[in-house]
């Protein structure tokens, strides 16, 4: 096959889908999710709204695909940390710190993105649930490795992964981050310091103990 052959129809469709997502994400960031219409997205791409609707049935479906792409990026960063060599405890700490940092950026530094993510959380819980499941699976792999090496006491890695996620919700859940920065008047440095204290306690809880 000649590499300069015209792209197959599937490739062209994928490229158009990608352009729609990139233009839509740019508009959501500049105008805001609520104010952007499918007509705005179509105009920016030089196509008709009907053509955009051939690829995505609604603005909400475009948002779902953008959220999935954004969470895919975070998931890949976390999976790369999970696959590193070195102590399991250090990798888990790095993963939960990264998760906190990315959530902080998503919900609080980029105000325009906030609406988009909030809409995804209420309309597309499936995308969020899949993201949580993949993060928990990556943590469970590191936990199982740590137990196999004797770094941690024997335990159920799937249960422990869920507990690590639940125990650190104050640093990843948008409502709780908002409470901390608002009502509890925390600053970001103190929040990160408290997350480290929490991780110290949780990782101590996973260590083998002479009583076991």
């Amino acid at each position: 096959m000649n590499s300069s052959a015209p792209p197959a129809p599937d490739d062209r469709a994928a490229a158009t889908r990608l352009s729609i997502l990139e233009v839509a994400e740019g508009l959501f960031r500049s105008l805001g999710y609520q104010k952007t219409t499918v007509a705005d997205i179509a105009r920016e791409l030089g196509m008709s709204p009907a053509n955009v609707y051939r690829f995505f049935p609604s603005k909400s479906a475009i948002n779902e695909a953008i959220a999935a792409r954004l969470l895919e990026g975070i998931t890949q960063e976390l999976e790369a940390i999970a696959a590193r060599p070195g102590p399991a405890a250090e990798r888990l700490r790095a993963m939960l710190r990264l998760l906190h940092a990315r959530h902080l950026a998503l919900f609080f530094r980029e105000r325009r993105m906030h609406d988009m993510v909030t809409a995804a959380m209420s309309e597309h819980w499936g995308v969020i649930a899949a993201f949580i499941a993949r993060i928990e699976a990556a943590m469970a792999r590191v936990l199982a490795e740590g137990a196999a090496r004797g770094e941690f006491a024997p335990h159920d890695p799937a249960v422990a992964a869920r507990l690590l996620k639940q125990a650190t919700l104050a640093w990843t859940h948008p409502v709780l981050i908002a409470d901390a920065l608002g009502k509890r008047a925390m600053d970001e440095a103190r929040m990160a310091g408290e997350l480290d204290e929490m991780l110290d306690l949780l990782l101590r809880g996973l260590r083998p103990n002479t009583d076991d």
Copy 2:
């Protein structure tokens, strides 16, 4: 002094305040917080609204006093557990289970109370903050006792108390309880089971370790 002497003006004022709170709480439970007016409360007491306003400047102030009274009850139950004899770990477990059970009842079994508590959380954060501070102080006393007896490794009890509270927010924060029962389709028995798993991990983390 004769015990049948008429009550002092301060006692009478305190009794009137208490009647207002009891009647208001009854109406909030039956009609709902939003639908109850100060005029409804006054009518039920056979007094004028102006008289109610002599004691409380607004319906919101009545709600604040009811929330404080309700949280006072929970605080006293928790302080009673903290003051018990026996292993510190068991008392901390009992305290956090009770806190979960009371929050579940408050937010989900008594639908009418939900509005009242939500209003208190947004309008009277001071009352909630004072409640959290007293719970943390009670847990810190148990933690310090546990460390003094060698049941726990040496640690800062105030920090550890805050971490226990943060790690169990999924079982006490109204938004997170709603997520668990709604989006994650948990039932109450499974939620209680997961809380126990979390407490196992946290209490293991507090134990003295041969490495220390």
